[in-house]
Symmetry: C5
Subunit: 354 residues, 5 copies
């Protein structure tokens, strides 16, 4: 199955704005979890009746509505209708192969990005799509499956840690984006550590493992870069565009987020360079080793093949072969061979092969 680019055959020719689920279903039933809070008050619940969502539109306090499971397109469409979202937003949310991006609509800001995770089973990084829709006081988030990086944010909300409870939905949005960015950095750091380890061993051993590792990390770095590059544009836009939903106070935090993403991008590029360099060094090292192997072969062959030939001559059964009869022939024969072998060794030493 293609990981870098997902199947979308089924949408061919569909009406633009028609939501069609693209991806793997990762949860049986769609779950909706709601946190409703202001500085004094917090309420947390799982939503059962979709229509109950309408009440949050007009409330003063901040509401974070988080949905897990994108396969139930109808449910998401209904949510879209309740919050008057543009059909294209809904289409993008359920298509899990979107490019990270940010878009301003008349009544909301819409943002898509990828959460990256190392899948221990398949030994590869997998991406899960996260969509955020920030309306006035409501933040809608959409994930593919339950279990996310956001538990610490929920804890901060529950325990009034930091300034999160006193700020609006924009700060909550920032907090989530920051958590995702933090995870990029942690993931890259984990890979990077292993890449730097390869570096150390590269001239000591030539193993198929090493090549396998370089290949593996290079592919994963390409995968990370594919998902990370567009996020750079996203945070640049967040910082440059004067998005009305974002408060002046949140500005410095967005700048900080941008630094984090820039740093992650830098690190990806650096590791990419390091890996290319490692592959080059490894290749050269193999050539070096092959040279050594060839030299050993050549030295052995060049010394012993002529000697064997000479021995062969005196192993012939010619009736008239004068040398065979000399008293010291055998010793002369040895002498000649030692001279030849010595000459060869001298020749190879001269060539610096020894």
């Amino acid at each position: 199955m293609a990981r870098f680019f997902k199947k979308r055959n089924q949408t061919k020719g569909a009406v633009p704005g028609t939501p069609v689920f693209i991806g793997q279903q990762k949860i049986e039933e769609t779950l909706i979890h709601i946190i409703d809070y202001d500085a004094e008050w917090l309420n947390e619940s799982d939503l059962l009746d979709l229509q109950a969502l309408a009440q949050y539109k007009t409330m003063e306090n901040v509401t974070w509505i988080n949905l897990y499971g994108l396969h139930d397109v109808e449910k998401i469409k209904t949510m879209g209708d309740i919050f008057e979202l543009h059909p294209l937003i809904i289409e993008d949310i359920v298509n899990t192969d979107q490019r990270p991006k940010i878009e301003e609509y008349e009544n909301c800001v819409f943002c898509i990005l990828k959460m990256l995770n190392f899948d221990q089973t398949n030994k590869m990084i997998v991406a899960e799509q996260l969509s955020l829709v920030l309306l006035d006081n409501v933040l809608l988030t959409f994930q593919e499956r339950p279990g996310d990086f956001f538990e610490p944010v929920r804890e901060r909300l529950r325990k009034k840690k930091g300034r999160i409870r006193t700020r609006g939905g924009d700060y909550l949005t920032y907090a989530l984006l920051d958590t995702v960015a933090d995870n990029y950095v942690i993931l890259i750091e984990k890979l990077g550590e292993q890449i730097e380890e390869i570096e150390t061993g590269i001239l000591d051993q030539i193993t198929a493992d090493m090549l396998e590792n370089i290949k593996f990390f290079k592919r994963e770095m390409i995968y990370v870069r594919k998902n990370l590059r567009p996020v750079k544009e996203l945070v640049q836009y967040l910082n440059k565009a004067e998005i009305k939903y974002f408060d002046e106070q949140t500005k410095f935090f967005l700048k900080d987020l941008q630094d984090l993403i820039y740093q992650a991008n830098d690190a990806t590029d650096t590791y990419h360079d390091l890996l290319s360099n490692q592959l080059n060094i490894y290749q050269t090292h193999i050539s070096n080793r092959m040279n050594d192997v060839m030299k050993v072969l050549t030295i052995f062959a060049a010394i012993f093949i002529p000697l064997t030939f000479i021995a062969g001559i005196y192993g012939t059964n010619f009736e008239y072969l004068p040398e065979l009869k000399y008293r010291y022939a055998y010793f002369i024969f040895w002498g000649v061979m030692i001279v030849i072998a010595g000459g060869m060794l001298g020749f190879f030493r001269h060539k610096k092969w020894l």
Copy 2:
């Protein structure tokens, strides 16, 4: 025949704006198919009399005039005259080697791009040129041959699916461009799946097939990129320039189209990187294997060549060769050889060749 760049010898020195057909004739006779519609009403017909086209110019409802077959230059020129198109537009339409582009003229928007298809017979991607001319309420499209990706759009028109019947020619234009972009994505995804499969197998087997595959996909990726890159500029222009024929409502759809094209471009670049990486890994892997082969050769040669030489010595027919007469000479001879062979094996183990 050159696929990347087509013959245009025949136009050398022609008057600019003189339409000359460049390409392969892919249909015997030019066909013109018309769909005329508004929200309530739709009429579909094949055009026989070219002059009848003039009536559509002043009609209120939207008309989509689609022509298949570009070799009949005269017919296209007549159409151009009827709709008062600039001679350069006509010249570009019949030259099937145009670079994708968009141009605003006084009375129309003109847009050229490529439809990409995988030709199963010749095992390569082939491009068909699509030209679109959007006048006030009329959309002219020009294709090289019948059979296109647009049947679903026609179905949506016929069955009033989505918003297409209630919008103008600009939305129809978008719908067609979106269909073409969707097809880029599908094509790249199909190639990508196979490229990712190569990835898996690359260290298990060294076959000429694998090299053939890498070569094939790299060339096709270069071909896709050549046709796709300029489309990026095209959609950027569509989104930035305030083209008068495009409605405010269509704006979000054009943004969505841009995302699709960006994503397709990203994917092409990513696959290009992956393939380059694969070729590098493959090359290194071959060197690794050659090293193995050489080691086996060298070990065999270095052990047996000296031994054969020693056997050769005692195969000589020297009359006076004292060792031959010793009672245990033969066993000492074996002993010496075993010591030498053992020494060699130790040496190679020390060198980590074993």
Copy 3:
């Protein structure tokens, strides 16, 4: 002789604006050919008296003054004086190693570019410099030698084909530039066809020819690119800058010219990529083949060298060598050798070398 960069030793330290001929003299005597026309009237002549040029300055109709042969610096200087050209223009015209460029002066537009031709004798692309000076109603062109691509333009002038006779000097300028651009495209297409042919054969044969071809086309592509890249800037300037000598009506034609040049640049880059790819594939293919060669060698050596050694042992003349006397020794000897050979074959099959 350097083709990529021409000798200019002789100008070292000369006064800037001093015209010094740099290049090869390609014609014995400078020729000046004049076409003088308006919509009704055309006159064609060869100029003999240089001073007669002055009359064209004030005439209402369009005059195209074309000079062949740049070695006669004095003549060109006189022409410059007559038309009041800046000394730097004259200096640039007679220096045939100028970079393509466009410059606006107070009384004229000055443009330099290269006409590329495949020289069949020396099997390489050669560049001829073309300078154009557009004054109000007069177009001066300067070429290195007679014989050019412009005969079809002259025919169009003579036969009133197209709109060329009814437009001014700006359109004539465009017509010439367009002809040059057309020739780039034709040249690249001719090379491209051969490059794509290499592509097909690359895995079937390893010949020094193929390497020679890749080298040849890569060098020529670098040469084309060197001459073509600056032309991109030139046409961008033509389209962006509001040059007073260029009519509003000519605007669309200049846009068309830009497309042509962009396409030629794209094609050059694409072919450059294809060639790099081909070289990589070719290199890998050679490694693959060498691997095959080495395997054959190793298999033969690893099987027969030990066997020969065994035969050698029983070829020794030790007096006491018990095996020689056994009745079935010879057959056991064969048996052992067959077992060894079989074992080796099994080993190599296990290693997938067979």
Copy 4:
């Protein structure tokens, strides 16, 4: 341990703006050193009571407060509170894996960069983070450990050398940045000298050392570049943005600083290119040498293997082997062998292998 990217697992999910120390503790207790000066007067002391810092906020003269050791987060937080620094500044200061950057806050300019040092023990470049906060008349600097490049600046302050005592905190900031930049240049120069030495030896010897060296310098150059690139943006910002804390008089010095950083970046890129080139040359040189080795092997094998074969034939014990009985057979045998050997030598000379 990862050098290119540091552990930040512990911050996962922390409240943004919460200072968490990331890095290695390099000093036991945090030290604060203060230099307080104006043109006439200078006082230098080590701070014991943190609250005493408040007094410097309102003083007229310039105060440089330098802190060594970032692990004591509480102390730094208290300092931040005293000088009313934004929580994000404190968070960045104690996280030693920040990307070099400059940020303007309402009451200060905040700047982070890396001091690079060659660690003789571990044979690698190590980076120490330097944070600068410029308030009105106070400059706060934060370093990871005692011992820095700034002693000469302190000397200039103490001895009134140059203009440093008569200028404000902005000039002091510049002086420190300039010292850091100077150190980049010195470091790169030291590496560069060794890189240029490799260059000289590259075709004389093929040693594993050389490969080890190339690998080492390439990795270090990648490391320097990673830390230096963002500084380019930093100084560009310093020069372009009209930062209120920077005096008009300091402008030329900032331009000079920019030149220094540009030059260091240029040099890094140049050395990177040189190293890539060296690796390529080295690789080709190895191939060349292997070719030589193979030729020697092939020449020996091709000459002696056939000869040994012929000798083998006449070593067979066939009862009826007519040649053995001829009187001059042995000499003819020698003659044939000499002819074959000569022919082979001729063949190889013809192939230019000799």
Copy 5:
């Protein structure tokens, strides 16, 4: 000694703006040469008393003060004081490792660039630093040693050639810059000619020389590029910025200078590409040759090793070896060997190795 980057250890921690001589002393005593002129009048002298310089500040005519030898920092500092130059200018002038740049100060324009020369003794390009300071009517130039490219400019001044005597200091500045640029072009052309010669021979011979040459030219091209790239920015600035000291009339000449520099940069890049290409071709060619060598070895080995083995069998001394006794055994033996050899040859022909 590092050529790409010069020692500056000694300036570590110096007061910014403190002039410290960095470089090699190339002349024993500093020389100052003055040319004072206007359209009618020219005076040329060597300056002895530094204080006499003050008089030129207020004179109406143009004065060119040229200093050779930068080690006498005090003298240069005095000159700086007389003409009221910013201390940073003086610091830059005596530091011969400056990056080419242009800077506008309140009372002058300051420009630094490199004169490149091929040093025949050390077989490498060496750079000499040239600093220009253009005050109102005075041009100060600083060079490292006597002997420069500017003699022709002085001749033009003395002999009133061209417009140089009638223009101001800005034109003189241009004339010097133009001379330096001309020298870049001549140098690159000289290298280029040799690079193109390599191109021709690359497939005919494989010599260590060729590799040595490629290495040499690549390094020199990297060196030229390092010194030339920043000059591009310099001339762009000269053309874009409205520098008050530069007259409107000089504008076209500056544009011409820019073209020259662009062309030199283009040529450097083109030659860099050509050399990379050559190295690739050369590498592939070596692989090709090695393939040939290996084939010869393998063919010989694969044919003769089995034959030798067979001969070995019949050289054994088994008492009971039935074949030895057959009458025609020897001829059958030959027959078998010929069949085997023939089969091998057929096999290799089938594999296209022959």
